[in-house]
Symmetry: C2
Subunit: 425 residues, 2 copies
């Protein structure tokens, strides 16, 4: 077996055999296949696709590249959630402690920034002292003591995926259904959760731009999960506009804490509760009341315990970017569009994301929205504030926003979109 | 400008702008764009193509990545030749000294093994002491004293191409017309030759499998050369079966020396003379007689001076592989097919080529043919001998040869193919 014949097979629109898949995943994990070879294969997969059987084998090979965890010793049922990534998608931050406060154990393995979307770990690292990397024993400790843990997948868990995920991020090979589905599911199956709720984003700021693609991704993942004995449900949710009013690491942590304090933007609260109900349902906790757990502070208590257990100070000041630039409305009217992709790219250019896997993200960088679709604004009113430590990036970020924010006529009617678009079980 | 947006443009079937091309070539040369990013872009270019204007700009950007050489101080006209690569294609070895013996100066910058085809420098390195890397001053010295020089392009010449060429070799991104044309022509234009003859191979063992693709590549390159003031002609030549009777580094040097001694296989002699006449014609030396220079030993004299001037011992023993395996004819009849691609892949698997750019080639490895299409054989007669230092590779090499050699009925009629299929000026 050699890597070039594997690359050529997919490049020339062939089907990868089970042997080719097992070999290339194993050889890449061991470093016998180089990054530049795997990225060429990833691009060929992105452009030429994989069928269901290839995806299933690719996922199994990534699971088999490492160890599998086991939470069956915990007294509580386990529930996990995964989002395919969006702009301003900080839902994991309030959701994990909320579901734990309702009685489930939430072992939430999360990732770093991928393309123009933020990463949960990058966000939490804006909390001074907080550590993303835990040993398996530490992870179980935090899960037992706090009820929820949000951390990086250990090096032993689906190491093939860990390498490939970082590689795809910097090689323009993120947006491929076979690679997205196998990446998510290999990690979640190896992690050993009993149930899983998938938040599959649809719209300009998501990797899936159409409902059709999102349905394909969701049903691929639900099939992979079910085949491996994990109770898996997917919600398709809107990502045409950012979630909440912030996109950026520390900015999103601040907004998440508002939600845990019983406030926060309505869309973030609505989606957090919808996903919490699905997770609790999948975990067999049908009588839990997540709205109450947000209102009575019990979710916040879990958050504080969880952050502290991972070395973070829940009361610490969060980083603030050195420079700000405010964008004002040029006309009065009703905001019709705040495009998620435009905001995501702009936040990434301001420093909230990375262009190479070695890059360091700016914790304070990002975008704060002062108006969302449906809001009325008057000319001269602030529409958004851009934050960065590298002000020479403002022009480049503003270029990404060009055409991404549209203000219609004053008094124009506006039809709000539902957040949850569909459910696949 | 960021590399991911450049990759995305081509991945999504867009046109790369002049600015994107200039930026990505420059950034890759400086190491700001990583190998894994460039290989993803190369795969996207391979699968989605580039138009004529993109190819012209890509070529110019690669020329501009380094210095340009100038041979105008030499008293002789310069002539160079480039082959797109085939199996058993050792033609450069006898050709360069032959054309020099006829009065031209031949500054032959050559490459290393690319995919299943051998590299001229790998072949010459099987001569003890011979050095591929020369400074520009050393190159001029050898050219002045011997009349011909075969060496690696210096680090200063089209460094972008040097990096990209090595990368494509190991990432399954060799077979792309835009990348092949720009790679060859950037080096040849920067090298400063006055005239250039292109040997564009067609057939199973070539990167171009069809005459149509080969014509497209040839006319793209002739256009690029002419636009830059280099007299450029292309011959399309057959590569459905290996050239001569050997494929492998030291094996091909031995065969080349036979040609310089006035012997050697008829097809190698025919193509060497055809290309020599084109080069001499393009250089304005229309009265030269290359057949005479082969017969009277003057080409051999240049070869010996050239090899010695680069540290090689023209009389040294060449390396021999540690193990041999003979394939015998299973039936009697007329050989109908010895497939170039099958022989090329088998030689590569035996160790004559490399799977990763860091790999070392085996100088003695390769394949020696005992029969070619049109030859009559009897059952049990040796068809070929496989050579390698790693005998565990025999089975893998034999698998590549499966179906690649066909023996027809005894006495069957056989129509030999011409070697030169077309000429594009």
């Amino acid at each position: 077996m050699d890597v070039i014949s594997v690359i050529r097979t997919k490049r020339d629109r062939g089907r990868l055999s089970d042997e080719q898949i097992d070999w290339v995943i194993d050889a890449y994990t061991r470093g016998h296949v180089a990054d530049e070879q795997m990225s060429a294969l990833a691009m060929a997969i992105l452009l030429n696709g994989m069928d269901r059987a290839e995806i299933a084998r690719w996922t199994a090979a990534m699971i088999n590249s490492g160890e599998r965890m086991d939470f069956s010793s915990l007294p509580r049922p386990t529930a996990d959630k995964h989002s395919t990534g969006g702009v301003g998608d900080k839902i994991t931050l309030p959701l994990a402690p909320l579901v734990a406060a309702c009685g489930a154990a939430v072992p939430q393995l999360s990732g770093r920034g991928l393309g123009h979307t933020g990463g949960t770990l990058d966000k939490l690292e804006s909390i001074p002292g907080w550590r993303a990397s835990l040993t398996n024993a530490e992870m179980l400790d935090v899960l037992s003591s706090a009820g929820a843990v949000i951390c990086a997948a250990g090096d032993g868990l689906a190491p093939a995926d860990k390498k490939l995920y970082a590689l795809r991020d910097v090689t323009g090979t993120v947006e491929a259904i076979p690679l997205i589905a196998s990446s998510i599911m290999s990690k979640k199956i190896a992690e050993g959760t009993g149930s899983l709720v998938l938040d599959v984003k649809v719209g300009s700021g998501a990797f899936m731009k159409t409902l059709e693609d999102a349905r394909e991704l969701a049903s691929t993942m639900v099939g992979l999960g079910t085949d491996h004995g994990v109770r898996t449900v997917a919600l398709l949710t809107d990502m045409s506009t950012p979630l909440g009013l912030t996109a950026g690491n520390a900015l999103e942590v601040r907004e998440s804490v508002e939600v845990l304090a019983g406030g926060g933007p309505a869309d973030v609260v609505e989606l957090t509760l919808a996903l919490a109900r699905e997770m609790l349902d999948a975990a067999g906790l049908r009588d839990a009341d997540p709205a109450k757990a947000l209102a009575d502070g019990s979710a916040m208590d879990v958050w504080r315990r969880m952050i502290a257990a991972q070395g973070g100070d829940p009361d610490a000041e969060l980083p603030v970017a050195r420079e700000q630039h405010v964008v004002h409305a040029s006309t009065s009217g009703v905001v019709e569009v705040v495009d998620a992709y435009a905001v995501g790219i702009a936040a990434w250019r301001l420093g909230a994301g990375r262009a190479r896997k070695e890059d360091v993200v700016q914790l304070g960088a990002g975008i704060e929205l002062h108006a969302k679709p449906g809001d009325s604004v008057v000319a001269g009113q602030p529409l958004m504030t851009l934050h960065t430590d590298t002000p020479e990036k403002f022009a480049y970020a503003l270029a990404a926003l060009d055409g991404g924010v549209l203000v219609g006529a004053p008094g124009a009617s506006f039809e709000p979109k539902p957040i949850v678009l569909d459910r696949i079980a």
